[in-house]
């Protein structure tokens, strides 16, 4: 073993280095601890108390500038256990109007680290939150008798309307995961839980401020450190303006009472959602204040799933409202022209396969086929498209073309609405069928029910309403959204992006005329309101869980449309029975502001009708739907999965991709 003695000397350099460092540090410690008395004085005055100042949360207005959600101060009674001195507990309990048992339990819960992980005798602990104004007044007067206790002002949300709970959402205390995921939050903060409160949380919450106070050894505040130079003022949250017309929303919720389903109304020219009704609905005021936890559990446990926003989370078979998309694809692909006719002898028959239809003239071209909602017409169309070897080679390739058109129309993927938990619906792709039937073992007839919006096809009411808006626009749409302006600066930029479908605009005119004919002399005659030029399409969606769903999709006026709607009523029978009347009332209410005398009867009938009698509420086997709200809850009783349960239509197919 040779040893380089020259290099060995370097041990003195390395050893010397750490000796020098330690000497510097000891000198520094000597300075800090022995020479400099400023730090000692600072500490004797017990240094700084960093106090957070909460910003006021942004307000929420509707599209006509009506205030919908506003703030109300609330008061939390907090304490620093270390500073609490013996006090008259009887007086204390009487002032707060609580019993001695409640007092003892609250104290015990607060100190239990399993329930209150941040407990420390030296920091502020919440003894009781959301005091009423009366309780606050009483305790405030006597607070000097209870050293160590003080009041912290918080903000509660208040709702002006008993409507739009699914859109507005609510706020809740942050949980551990929120704190881990976002540096902004500290225990005890509030965050948006559902609806726009969640999706626009970062705009609504503002920026917290803080003040640094100097405290003496007795805990008394001596004033601001550095004369307030280091204090930061809070920045109030931005107000947001919904695209929702709160009156229309309220009206829609009244129409849907005692029914299960959804209404979506969109302004086609902007993609702004005018109304987004999910029924059954609930009063948003249930989710504020001290009762929130209890009410929340009640809503979660409600078998009718009021927290499940059917308008955007439920994936339903679209039924015949799907047919316009098929007409568009067949024209775009050159399978049909507006003059092509197909026969219908009470349905579509091919070999042993038969898809039924009702009685009407035969053969029919496209427009009358839409007017009468002929099943056979669209089955033939799909048959000739998918099995066209000369055009596409194999059904696989043909189906991919078909699927890509569907995706361009907003189906199969989330549209990207600015609300949490949107479902993507389901549009199969050829791999999906290859897997189900084997590659090369399926053809048009295997999947023929796709042509009439049955089979594997699933869509959200939002997607169907968006189709209606796209047809109204003759071939483009803006991503539907419920917030038209954030902090007065217009919608977020993704909602200003025009999305053009892969279908030639000219073909849309054919569909529009067919939908107009359905209103003037077809399945949607109830929607034929004088002067409004409504265009519509009914749907009667079969489903394996009970009675057919009643669906309507339409827009008005025919030229320069102002509103596009989709109405989906579960287990309510024919589209014409519930879908069309409700849809036409929404259109009329929005465009005319009121219901004409002649149609008051329809309105009364719809409001009083109930379709929930025979409904069997099923617990769906669906796991958490994709993009589920993933809600953490303050009560801990509700899981995200529970909330996402679809009532009637399972969304389990979501894991098969459409690509």
């Amino acid at each position: 073993m040779r040893k380089d003695y020259n290099l060995e000397k370097r041990k003195f350099v390395i050893g010397g280095f750490i000796v020098v460092i330690v000497v510097i540090y000891i000198v520094r410690l000597f300075n800090l601890q022995v020479m400099d008395s400023a730090y000692k004085e600072n500490a004797d005055s017990n240094a700084f108390l960093k106090k957070t100042i909460y910003p006021s949360r942004g307000l929420i207005y509707d599209r006509n500038d009506s205030l919908v959600v506003f703030n109300q101060p609330a008061y939390d009674l907090v304490m620093i256990p270390k500073d609490v001195q013996p006090f008259d507990t009887t007086d204390f309990c009487n002032t707060l109007q609580i019993s001695r048992e409640v007092f003892d339990k609250r104290m015990a819960d607060m100190k239990d680290r399993r329930k209150n992980i941040n407990y420390s005798a030296y920091t502020q602990q919440i003894f009781m939150n959301h005091l009423s104004a009366q309780d606050y007044g009483r305790i405030q007067e006597k607070l000097y008798r209870f050293p160590g206790f003080f009041i912290v002002q918080r903000i509660l949300r208040q709702y002006k309307y008993n409507a739009a709970a699914n859109i507005l959402g609510d706020i809740r205390e942050v949980n551990k995961r929120d704190i881990e995921n976002d540096e902004y939050y500290r225990p005890g903060d509030y965050t948006g839980d559902l609806g726009v409160e969640k999706s626009y949380e970062t705009y609504l919450r503002g920026v917290k401020g803080n003040e640094i106070l100097i405290r003496d050894a007795l805990g008394k505040i001596k004033g601001h450190y550095n004369d307030g130079a280091d204090d930061v003022a809070p920045v109030a949250g931005s107000d947001i303006r919904l695209s929702i017309d709160i009156n229309l929303q309220e009206y829609g919720e009244r129409l849907m009472q005692n029914k299960i389903g959804a209404i979506v109304a969109i302004e086609p020219s902007t993609g702004e959602i005018l109304a987004l009704v999910s029924s059954p609905s609930y009063d948003p005021s249930l989710l504020i204040g001290r009762e929130r936890g209890k009410n929340y559990r009640m809503l979660v446990n409600d078998k009718r799933k009021p927290l499940f926003d059917r308008a955007i989370m439920a994936a339903y078979p679209p039924g015949s409202t799907f047919k316009p998309t098929q007409g568009l694809i067949f024209m775009q692909e050159g399978i049909i022209t507006s003059a092509t006719t197909y026969p219908c002898h009470r349905g579509y028959t091919w070999g042993r396969l038969h898809v039924g239809c009702h009685g009407h003239g035969s053969p029919l071209p496209l427009k009358p086929a839409l007017q009468t909602s002929c099943n056979a017409y669209f089955c033939y169309g799909l048959k000739y498209m998918i099995d066209s070897k000369s055009r596409y080679g194999t059904p696989d390739k043909a189906f991919e073309v078909w699927k890509n058109h569907m995706v361009s129309m907003g189906y199969g993927y989330k549209l990207g609405v600015d609300l949490p938990g949107e479902s993507r619906g389901f549009i199969p792709n050829s791999q999906y069928y290859d897997k189900a039937y084997g590659k090369g073992h399926w053809s048009a007839n295997t999947i023929i029910s796709d042509a009439i919006g049955q089979g594997e096809i699933l869509a959200t009411p939002l997607q169907i309403a968006n189709l209606s808006a796209t047809i109204a626009n003759r071939g483009f749409f803006y991503t539907p959204h419920v917030v038209r302006s954030v902090a007065g600066k217009g919608p977020l930029k993704e909602f200003k992006q025009k999305r053009v479908t892969s279908i030639n605009s000219a073909y849309y005119n054919e569909i529009v005329e067919g939908m107009r004919m359905a209103v003037t002399g077809g399945t949607c005659r109830i929607a034929n309101i004088a002067g409004l030029d409504v265009c519509g399409k009914t749907g009667t969606a079969q489903n394996p869980h009970g009675r057919d769903h009643s669906v309507f999709m339409g827009f008005a006026p025919m030229n320069n449309p102002k509103i596009a709607v989709c109405v989906y009523v579960e287990n309510a029978g024919f589209g014409a029975t519930y879908g069309v009347p409700i849809g036409s009332l929404i259109i009329e209410k929005y465009l005319n502001g009121e219901i004409s005398a002649g149609r008051k009867g329809i309105e009364a009938r719809m409001m009083s009708a109930s379709t929930m009698g025979g409904v069997i509420v099923r617990k769906s086997a669906a796991k958490k739907t994709e993009g589920g709200t993933g809600a953490g809850t303050d009560g801990g009783a509700a899981s995200g999965a529970q909330r996402d349960l679809s009532t009637e239509i399972t969304t389990k197919k979501n894991d098969a991709t459409v690509q």
Binding site: I14, I18, I21, Y25, I26, L32, F48, S120, N226
Partner: protein, 489 residues
Amino acid sequence: MLQYNNENDNNVLRSVDWFTVFLYAILVIAGAVSIYAATYDFENSSMFDLSEFSGKQFLWIGLSFLIGFSLLLIDRRLYEAYAYPIYGVMILLLILTVFIAPDIKGSRSWIVLGPVSLQPAEFAKTATALALARLFGTYGFSLKGWRNYAIAIAVILLPVACILMEKETGSALVFMSLFFVLYREGRSGFVLFAALCAVVYVVVVLKFAAATLMGIPLGMFIVFVLIMALVVGMLLVYCRSLILGRNVAIGYIASALLAVVLHFVGVDINGYVFFFTVLGVSVVYLLIGMLHDDMKKVGMTIAFACASVVLMFLVNYGFNNILQPHQQVRIKVTLGIEEDLRGAGYNVNQSKIAIGSGGVLGKGFLNGTQTKLKYVPEQHTDFIFCTIGEEEGFVGSAAVLLLFLVLILRVIAIAERQHTTFGRVYAYCVASILIFHLSINIGMVIGLCPVIGIPLPFFSYGGSSLWGFTFLLFILLRIDASRKEYGVW
């Protein structure tokens, strides 16, 4: 005659460096006691209560002693033989961690196994030290060639890259200390020296930018003086040129005196004019002088002086003219130049208050108030030294620093008594890592270093950190225990 066949446990336990074990035991127990003080509340029942941090730490310490003892029983040759496999497995584990670790405050470095969380980065230090030692211990290995040098650097930087992917910048920086080892094993210290100077220049220029002296920023004034001192130092120590060093030093001092005298008679010279003139004249003198002396070394000194001046101006210009104001603030806060009582500076300020309030003898065990107000986050982990400073005062905190100093010097002594390159390099790795942890952690707490989140060895709460250092130290003790076997080689 080789003896190691006769080796038995007794033999090992007899030749273990008990002094180091003793220091280790004092440090870990003092650590757990400090953790108890740092997290103490009125309600706290016992130091050994397993629901408290201190109780858990005692459990980790108990396990550490077991680990340490087991490590001593393993044949020393196994450490050398399995150095590379251990290193390889460790790298894989670090990479795996990036993917399976949950995101905790932006860092993905903890592997969660039921109730226990482990931080592989803490163990990677030992693995890297072993691999580096094994590399240097390879027959015929020499740092002279660029190829070997590159391999050694790669061994160091590979775990750094992995840990950076985990977003644990602090732990990654620790590996930089291993460059000390390269220095000890023969690389020129010039690189270390230059890097140190550069860091000092940057900090000084930025830190003292506000005040002015002789019409130039105080920071630049100090750096100019520093450069002059370094030039003289290099001439004397590095070039071993007594004459040149003496003459230049006399010139500098004379110029300084002249400037002072002129100041008192009412003539103020501009700082730039003064320093450029003085430095310029000395450089010209050295350019002539190098012809009669060690040309290469004096040339290096001149280059060093010029590069220093250029760097200083670049830093000054770049900081003020290229960076945006918010970036400037960020850097100032990171360097601890600007007091930022709302952000990171708040912690350091609180920590300084806590330590400063300790006085000479401290407030006494469990009597500290500052550290318990929970103003300083991480006070039982990275900021544990605060509690010692507050409760044990200057005497206690200086004692802790001296204990660490003794431990580190002991490790260096152990390093130098090794007969194998493997043993020596491993020991220097241990020393370097301890030096880095100690300097940065304490420096951060007393406000001399930027806040880099690394634990204080043996003190900070946490099983991973404690076990990591236990592995590091006891493997060294095991290797050292066999040093006598090699005496007969």
